[in-house]
Amino acid sequence: SPIAPPADEDRENIAENYLNRLYGLPKQTSSDTERRSSAMSLRLKEMQQFFGLKVTGKLNDETVEVMKKPRCGVPDIAA
């Protein structure tokens, strides 16, 4: 039977897709992981601030739960 992907990888994918679509996170084009991580943290903070979550810039359960909710596809913050 197929092996389920690790939960962390799942969460990362959810967050990447969400922030890419709604918070202008650029699609991954380079292998500069530090730069990528910094850009993601910045967008996470914007998202957490918008939803009144604890602003950490880190992916936590509370943030992922909000990302999983059904919603409108219009970005929350103007590009």
Binding site: R21, P70, R71, C72, G73, V74, A78
Partner: protein, 170 residues
């Protein structure tokens, strides 16, 4: 509330809408009624008036689509993104797209209530961005509300009236 940065508002108060196609989840009459009522939510508190047309290009073109529907914002299958709409401008502006991979329903709290989703999207069609007020209709995430007792939350009233003013008939 929040409005789109720039001058994204209709320069006229008489707007047209057209329903281009239908979801199989509901009857045609139910879709028509849901859309009409969703627009009326905004007309009740502003000078905006909506007229349905059946051919040609309306200010607000309404369609049910799935996946990549060629506007640069593909839908993602069931759940996730339910719909989106574009702020007022010529062409695609004002148009509202509903993800037909969702189950849209007329009155049931199961699935997604088309009236509620549409009323939110038409807020974008008229120039409102997402609100950070969790009680607002323009909050980004879907929350079921009793459609029989629905009234537009004050945050949304303030937002739309900041763009178009109050309903002169009230």
């Amino acid at each position: 509330y929040s409005t789109f940065a720039g001058d994204y508002k209709w320069k006229k108060h008489d707007l047209t809408y057209r329903i281009e196609n239908y979801t199989p989840d509901m009857s045609v009459a139910e879709v028509d009624d849901s859309i009409k009522k969703a627009l009326q939510v905004w007309a009740d508190v502003t000078p905006l008036r909506f007229t349905r047309i059946y051919t040609g290009t309306a200010d607000i073109m309404i369609s049910f689509v799935v996946g990549d529907h060629r506007d640069g914002y593909p839908f993602d299958g069931p759940n996730g993104f339910l719909a989106h709409a574009f702020p007022p401008y010529e062409g695609l502006g004002g148009d509202a797209h509903f993800d037909d991979d969702e189950t849209f329903l007329y009155r049931s709290p199961e699935g997604y209530n088309l009236f509620l989703v549409a009323a939110h999207e038409f807020g974008h069609s008229l120039g409102l961005e997402h609100s950070q007020d969790p009680g607002a209709l323009m909050y980004p995430t879907y929350v079921y509300r009793d459609v029989d007792t629905f009234s537009l939350p004050q945050d949304d009233v303030n937002g739309i009236q900041s763009l178009y003013g109050k309903n002169p008939d009230i």
